[in-house]
Amino acid sequence: MDGRRTHSSFVHVGSVSASGETLTCDCFRFWCYQSSHLVVSLSISYTQLIHSQKNFSKSTSLAPKTRARLLTALCEALQTLSSLLDSYNSDENKGNSTEHHTQTQTGFASSQVVPQSFRDAFACHLYMLFSIMFFTESEAKGGHGLDAKGNNNKRTVESDRAEASRAACADCMMVATKAMAKNRAKLWQRSVPDEAVVILPCRIAFQILESATGVVARKACSADAAMAMIACTVGSCTSNTTNVVGSDNTSTSSTANNGLLGTIVAALMDLMHSYEHMAPLCAELCEMVPEQPTNQLAIELLREIGRLNTNGLGDNSRASGIRNVAPFLHLLATKRPRIVLNNIAHLMPHLNSEVYNLRSSIATAIAVILSSEEGLKEGNNNDGLRMEREDGASHEIGDAAKTRNALLDLLAERVLDVSSFTRGAVLKAWIQIVQSRALPVDRFIPVTLMAIDRLQDKTIMARRQAMQVGKSR
């Protein structure tokens, strides 16, 4: 061993998971060899170890200039590989006689798929970019990056530089995501993607979204690009499933795509449970996902919310996760009322759940559906409305008025909810319906009577809303 070399090594024993990245270690030993003398061997606590390991990542501890060059080189390589992938088909690359001969012999169109060495190069560069972004996000989350101590000018310069480098990485990751989504048939045989590769942009996007707590943070961490990455991956899942229908590869490809979609939905649900700011972002994400043939992401999320077990969570602290999820329902209804209307059956059991936030959110979502032009607004010619079922087929709603009445009845019933917060939310829903002129004429008197009755409510919040219902027109 070189006596002058300062050498560090980790002994890996245990394991811990951090946002999909596994750090395996239990005990850390730091040996310092200097002039052939063993100087010190020490162990440090687990928390310190994680911190040390993060600080030991080369990409974050390199000189700023070298780091910038590394990022540029990595992004450039990935962008070139992506553009080569895009142009591969038109290239008729190696469409020489040997290739055609092989193709004819095997009956398999191997010329449509890039060589394994290309796939490896693409995966390797994508993984390295992912790792750099992972370290950067961890550093930013730990407050070492954007909130570095120092004078204001220095901090601003550092923040700007960090923001620019994060944006450049996110843009490059987006280019790679688009290339993978667009060229699945060229990248993998039978269009069956390697899930470990395809999910990489989403994995980093989830970590970025964790930090997007406000408008400023959202811009600083390139949350818009992160959402675009997820939307692009989801879009490719649904479009590829549709494209291969009728071919021999249907089951393999759709299984892979369903698995990928399932992973994304599970991760988003987990994020919504953990972070208050995630519900609006998820609703926005559902808006970004292509609607054709169906907005599978929104449907799957609604289905997952419908499956949530809310028993025994009344005033329990465990309900906080579900409280974070609840706003997603009315936010999605605002953006895509038709999707929520089509899948409202999944949510109905939650009207009897113990978490009042869910009940309030469902009531608000119903009000949005009833008062929006795209939904079931009174006066719209919805009788011939076609509703898409989950399997992509469609059926006609015989009588939209019937659905409208059922939802209005539901709201009328909920005005007597056990929770004053939900009663207030329901009365607010009635205000919205009245103000958007979506209330059927035959409901004017019953709603007025209901509002008068609620003026006797025991909470001021409900009484105030009831007064507003009376005043609205």
């Binding site: 070399r5 980790f10 596994t22 080189a73 390589a77 040997t98 092989t102 995966a123 790792s131 045989q189």
Partner: protein
């Protein structure tokens, strides 16, 4: 190696579960390349710069030759000696810089 075999060749870069897994099989990368000079801070910085320069050279080659780099000229006879763009040296450089 026929083209079909080339297509069916097993991946040499399956996505690892953690970055440090790259130091184990099948990747067997080192924290630093064998010729990495870290006698002092200046030498260390130069070594890192050299690794980045290696990546930049590779990028230039990729931009110049495009997909031809991955088809390796289709020479069946010189299979073992085929010139791979993403060789062990490049992966090692990437790992040392990123880890």
């Amino acid at each position: 190696m026929t083209i079909q075999q080339r297509h069916n060749k097993k991946s040499t870069f399956p996505i690892p579960s953690s970055l440090h897994d790259l130091e184990r099989a099948p990747y067997n990368l080192l924290p630093y390349p064998n010729d990495f000079d870290d006698d002092d801070e200046a030498a260390r910085a130069d070594s890192f710069d050299a690794l980045v320069a290696k990546l930049e050279d590779g990028n230039e080659q990729l931009g110049r030759c495009g997909l031809d780099l991955f088809w390796g000229g289709e020479s069946v006879e010189h299979d073992d000696e085929e010139d791979v763009w993403m060789d062990e040296e490049r992966i090692q450089a990437l790992y040392t810089l990123v880890r």
